[in-house]
């Protein structure tokens, strides 16, 4: 149990996001849900924030000079209602723990990101999306109710029908409306723990746009991995992976012995002391991307894969973010509306000639957005890629891309951002003022603060 010492100097430590850039120091304490209100009372002028597993790439889960809370909680406290297909779970529980409880019982989370090491709180606060966004929307669409601890220490239970304004301001609200203590989330019933996957090699960007536009809706899950260094007529060459949970009748005799078996292991860890840029440079990345593309099948249907292999390939190497060395990495993710395919092409073109070494980029076709004023997904195309923080000319390159994205009516994803500007956010999120009004109504003193909120003027 945590000993509450207020904002003493005892637990001060540096925090960064997953990109390992720009550390700031905060008082970090772990608290069970019933002690959160008391802990928040001790927050000083720098306010308080909850941190999940710190899988945001930038500064969303940091609060320099203030209080940072980590919620204790276990998946064993989850309450599954099989008849309604819902689970009620403490917000500090992460998807890795939860899947280990749910999958053997025949249920799957409604949305999973590219890593299962995110908490329920983080999934709601960032309104995360997965490979199924085009048909099932983002995480917030599946939250039936949540308990929110407000700045004054009181708690409210809210949902799409209970205080919908506050509910939607909390979905995608980046922890700035209060602390989500628990949530009830709709689940997907599954027959097996295997995925049935179709894989297709796509030669260029136009072919990719049309393959996704024409075929995505036939699949629950779809995402393309693009080689960001391919140029000219190869621009946008990619591997499109689509699929769904396998049904029992799709399993072979061996798999049928344990249709819901699930127990992913982490295979390896990148040693903590990788020489700066020792592993990643333009040549090694280009070689990797080339091999990866050639290795993919031209077209293959109905391949059975595990959940981890399909959704969370990066989780096989723990702490892989360390390969980027001491200057860390920046993730760049944006969405542009349908009809702005040329803007997407220009972005990929500029990246391909920039020399900023990047592993595979992920391109996805989003479906409809939801009612949250700060939710990122909107109908259109989204691209996400990692760039080493030390890449030459990176600031100018990304600033130029910001312009293209905003001019195309697009926007950037808070959970990935570490470098865009308050002006870019105002332009990309036209409902920002509406969100601020709701936030101010429950947190007039701005108790909830983060490095991201200061940098982007969300708590000015």
């Amino acid at each position: 149990m945590a000993i509450l010492t207020g904002v003493s100097m005892q637990n001060r430590r540096p925090l960064t996001g997953w990109g390992r850039t720009n550390a700031t120091v905060a008082e970090v304490i772990e608290v069970p849900n019933h002690e959160v209100a008391a802990a928040v009372k001790e927050a000083g002028p720098r306010g308080a924030l909850v941190r999940g597993l710190g899988r945001s790439y930038g500064d969303a889960a940091q609060n320099a000079g203030g209080l940072v809370l980590r919620l204790l909680g276990s998946a064993h406290q989850a309450v599954l209602d099989p008849s309604l297909a819902t689970v009620t779970v403490p917000a500090g529980v992460n998807l890795d723990e939860l899947l280990r409880v749910l999958v053997p019982r025949g249920f799957f989370v409604p949305v999973t990101p590219g890593t299962r090491f995110v908490t329920i709180g983080g999934a709601i606060a960032s309104d995360i999306h997965g490979k199924n966004h085009h048909v099932e929307g983002s995480f917030g669409n599946h939250v039936r109710a949540l308990t929110l601890l407000l700045a004054d220490g009181s708690t409210v239970v809210i949902g799409p029908q209970q205080q919908p304004e506050l509910f939607w301001a909390t979905i995608g609200g980046m922890g700035l409306t209060g602390v989500i203590l628990d949530a009830t989330v709709g689940l997907l019933p599954i027959e097996t723990s295997r995925m049935s996957v179709d894989t297709t090699r796509i030669p260029d960007l136009d072919a990719l746009f049309s393959a996704m536009s024409d075929g995505d809706d036939d699949f629950r899950y779809s995402v393309a991995w693009i080689d960001p260094q391919a140029k000219g007529r190869h621009l946008g060459r990619s591997v499109l992976g689509r699929g769904d949970h396998a049904r029992l009748d799709q399993l072979g005799p061996k798999e049928l012995l344990s249709p819901l078996a699930y127990g992913p292991k982490q295979l390896a860890s990148v040693p903590p002391l990788v020489p700066p840029m020792g592993v990643i440079n333009h040549a090694t990345v280009a070689a990797f991307n080339e091999v990866w593309y050639r290795k993919a099948p031209l077209h293959r249907e109905g391949e059975l894969k595990g959940i981890a292999g399909f959704f969370h390939p990066l989780d096989m190497v723990s702490r892989w973010n360390r390969v980027y060395g001491s200057s860390g990495m920046v993730q760049y993710q944006f969405v542009v509306p349908f009809g702005e395919e040329e803007a997407m092409r220009t972005v990929i073109e500029r990246l391909s000639v920039s020399g900023a070494a990047s592993f595979l980029a992920v391109l996805k076709r989003f479906g409809a957005g939801n009612d949250s004023p700060l939710s990122f997904p909107a109908p259109g195309w989204t691209l996400a890629l990692d760039v080493p923080g030390s890449a030459r000319g990176l600031a100018d390159l990304l600033h130029g891309l910001d312009r293209l994205v905003l001019d195309a009516g697009g926007r950037h994803y808070f959970a990935k951002d570490g470098r865009t500007t308050a002006a870019a956010i105002r332009q990309g999120y036209p409902r920002l003022e509406e969100w601020k009004a709701v936030r101010d109504s429950v947190d007039p003193e701005h108790v909830w603060q983060s490095d991201l909120s200061r940098r982007l003027g969300l708590t000015d």
């Binding site: 001060r12 540096p14 990109g19 850039t21 720009n22 550390a23 700031t24 120091v25 905060a26 720098r46 790439y57 930038g58 500064d59 609060n63 320099a64 000079g65 203030g66 001491s326 200057s327 860390g328 920046v330 923080g389 990176l394 600031a395 600033h399 570490g418 470098r419 865009t420 500007t421 308050a422 002006a423 490095d451 991201l452 200061r454 940098r455 000015d460």
Partner: protein, 253 residues
């Protein structure tokens, strides 16, 4: 807040009309920068400098600041924070060279220089550091000088103050690291600026812009000390060990 590329949003220049200081500000400005505060003893002169910096969405403010008036320092810094929020980067660039021939002999003149350059710098730095400790982040650039690396007969008072603040900044920097505050000491050689106008340039002389480039690069890389130009690091690692009689006769400008 700094962003993920280490670009500061709010910059405070103490010695707001310093040629070197202003060059550093220009060098670290990015599209994400929001506010620059120039703290100047001469506000009118400061306004001219501010006009040269203003563009687009960047707000540039001038506040009155006297490096010798140590009693006022905490208030000046408190006002800046109250108006503009966190200070991401503070640059300590105020100092006076004085006339070495005079300050070596005149008690009053010597103690005035020592007071501004050393006591004033220490006081203003502590006031900034206290804020940054509370913020849990921030960077301080301390303009030291090679003149303090091995103090020369020609200007012992100035050189002595630079040696003093150099050591002070290193020690304070180590103390601040645990609080997320980064101190970087910059040791330029002879820089063509208002301070050195009319003086004969020493070997390896440089410009404010070059000092600024070295400073910005050092900040991004998280360095604790940089020299400008970089070669001076090696020159001085040799000069430090030159025997006294030889040192005194070296033609160092």
């Amino acid at each position: 807040m700094d962003n993920a590329l280490g670009e500061p949003q709010t910059i405070l220049l103490l010695g707001g009309t310093s040629d070197i200081g202003l060059a550093i500000v220009r060098e670290v400005l990015s599209p994400g920068a929001r506010t620059v505060v120039l703290a100047c003893r001469n506000v009118e002169k400061g306004e001219l400098a501010a006009a040269g910096l203003r563009h687009g969405g960047l707000a540039v403010h001038v506040v009155h600041f006297n490096g010798s008036d140590t009693a006022s320092h905490e208030q000046v810094i408190a006002d800046v924070v109250a108006q503009h929020g966190d200070i991401d980067l503070a640059i300590l660039a105020f100092a006076q060279l004085g006339d070495g021939a005079v300050t070596s002999k005149d008690v009053q003149a010597a103690s005035e220089i020592a007071h501004v350059n050393f006591t004033g710098t220490v006081s203003a730095t502590i006031a900034v550091a206290n804020r940054m400790r509370g913020q849990g982040h921030g960077a301080i650039v301390m303009l030291s000088s090679v003149a303090g690396e091995r103090v020369r007969a020609a200007n012992p008072v100035y050189g002595g103050t630079k040696a003093g603040i150099d050591g002070f900044a290193q020690g304070l920097g180590d103390a601040l690291a645990a609080d997320g505050v980064h101190m970087m000491v910059v040791r330029p050689g002879f820089v063509h600026s208002a301070m050195t106008q009319g003086l004969k340039a020493a070997p390896f002389s440089t410009t404010p812009e070059q000092v600024a480039a070295v400073t910005a690069k050092g900040l991004r890389a998280g360095r604790r000390t940089v020299w400008a130009p970089g070669i001076l690091r090696y020159v001085f690692s040799a000069l430090r060990h030159v025997p006294g009689p030889v040192w005194r006769r070296l033609p160092l400008g």
